[in-house]
Symmetry: C2
Subunit: 157 residues, 2 copies
DNA sequence: CAGGATCCCTAAGGATACTG
DNA sequence: CAGTATCCTTAGGGATCCTG
């Protein structure tokens, strides 16, 4: 138990800093379909119908989710044109969207272990070694859960 | 774009390996309240009413979510007894639950940047340095998004 | 303190049909 | 291909009241 954990545990809500970033993040992209669309976008999917089919949701849901993700700035809508066709839009990851991927891969990794799915692995392309999601500090140490603290600006905690 | 990303992009659904771990994970703990309860459990909250109050949900929702998390094995229900009181239950993180924390902190980190919340920081207690969630390979390299690949067992990809 | 019961509202999302 | 529109079901979750 870290010092801060002890302090944070003594409170009525997450009041010290207003609403917690986790809560806000879940409010923005906290649905299964949004998470899977982000996965697809990372895999290189850009077309509306491909998202719908590969994620396994209806077009209505696809439309709603893509719009939300574009509005939130995780995806960008870009026009493209195939010869002889009218102009259409495709959806690509933005910088904010790419920054979101650790969330997706953390879920992937946990689910892989939890559901004992041994067929899948994250790997570092090129070097070929297995990759995992982990918490590290600026000094380069791996940070196990019991050594992780949350600091509120200014305070010592 | 990695090799696997290219290959995975050419498919109808996530068929090569059945349902994806991300999807299964979201099915299990993909609600805002479940995520916040996990945060609270990490902070050291163990009592029913504390969860309800600090997460900001009703007791009915608290009851439902805690039961699901216990059934899923992320939390364990343990009896405790205060002098002069009847026996009650408290909820503590299991190993599976602790393993889930990278998901929670990845959301925390992304939300912190996205919502520009500068008051909060993850830190490595003791060494005091800032901590972040990142993807690294077994050879010790930091793995940027463009170098990350997903491998399906046996296949080269 | 730790819930369960009941009622109600909203969002996610499936099914189906229709458009440019 | 890229959507929009309509209808319907289910789950999350608030409010309120009650119990051991």
């Amino acid at each position: 138990m870290t010092v801060l954990q002890g302090r944070l545990a003594d409170r009525d809500s997450w009041s010290p800093v207003g609403r917690c970033p986790i809560e806000k993040t879940m409010g923005l992209v906290g649905t299964k379909s949004a998470m899977l669309i982000m996965r697809e976008a990372f895999y290189g999917t850009t077309r509306f119908d491909d998202f719908a089919r590969r994620v396994g949701i209806t077009k209505a849901a696809t439309s709603a989710r893509l719009s939300e993700l574009v509005d939130a700035g995780l995806l960008a809508k870009q026009p493209y044109q195939e010869p002889g066709q009218r102009s259409r839009d495709e959806y690509v990851l933005t910088e904010q969207g790419t920054a979101f991927m650790p969330v997706v891969w953390a879920m992937f990794e946990w689910g892989r272990g939890y559901f004992e799915d041994t067929r899948l692995r994250l790997s570092h392309q090129g070097c070929g070694a297995e990759a995992t999601v982990e918490i590290r500090c600026a000094d380069g140490h791996h940070v196990p859960p019991e050594e992780l603290a949350v600091r509120v600006a200014g305070r010592r905690t």
